[in-house]
Symmetry: C2
């Protein structure tokens, strides 16, 4: 541990610590998403479909533009995925009541079943990690990940997550 770098350069340990934190995020995210991907594969859906199902499931009645804002993709990109989900009966649209230009999005029964299936698998994975790590660690996880969200829209993102 007392090698040249750490003796001569007090920033070295910190840099190394940060590099490790970055790789940890990479590996954790890779394995976290792998489970969902496997399930979705059976339906010939990809990660993009999952994201739509996930967010529509958690925000029933949300509009297309809200969804675009969350996903940060173009409407053309979304449309291919979304119209596919609608055609195959996992998502449905209803005209907005106040503003009839809006298309409000809902999961169908089938959509809800798939959402549950994938979500359950992911929740179990996270629940295991939480259980092993303990309550205090969970609080730390939340704090750090919150800090990784871009400041300029952190509040917006947190509001959406917490659905205040």
């Amino acid at each position: 541990m007392t090698d040249v770098k750490s003796v001569n350069n007090p920033l070295f340990l910190r840099e190394e610590e940060l590099r490790q934190a970055i790789e940890l995020l990479f590996f954790a995210y890779r394995d976290f998403t792998a489970g969902a991907d496997n399930i979705l594969e059976d339906y010939n859906f990809g990660r993009a479909h999952h994201r739509v199902i996930h967010f529509v499931g958690r925000n029933e009645g949300m509009t297309v533009s809200e969804l675009l804002d969350i996903l940060r993709i173009t409407k053309q990109s979304l449309n291919r995925v979304l119209s596919n989900l609608i055609k195959r009966g996992f998502v449905e649209q209803r005209q907005g009541e106040e503003d009839r230009r809006q298309r409000c999005l809902y999961l169908t029964e089938e959509g809800r079943l798939l959402e549950q299936k994938v979500s359950r698998a992911q929740r179990e994975l996270v629940a295991n990690a939480f259980r092993e790590a303990g309550g205090e660690a969970v609080a730390g996880y939340r704090k750090v990940l919150t800090g990784l969200i871009d400041e300029t829209h952190r509040d917006t993102a947190l509001n959406r997550i917490l659905k205040t």
Copy 2:
């Protein structure tokens, strides 16, 4: 807060807590990667190129198959990106000394510069999140993310991260 769901279903709060943790990971990862993507864009490189530069930079002399094992992509996918990086002078290969079938990978000067540039931006982001969150939270972050890594190769992954 005392709505029907939480009164009748003691699992509801836990489920909600887990769903929030999942979305938090999604948003944090999205914003974390956005910074690097921007820099890479100036070089006409994508996230795939970055991953190669990152891991080669952290494991100088690693072989192609080690890299494949980390990235979990096919050699054909890797090859397109890798040969591009070599052609453009960011990565170089040297024949393995013990096993001359192996191609050991190194960053060139230019490669190292780019790696530093992207890494510095990412480290600053993480450093800010760590600073805001505090030391205890950082420990929790590590614990939870470690737990999210697939058990079957968690030790392998951790060894690579910590470079023991």
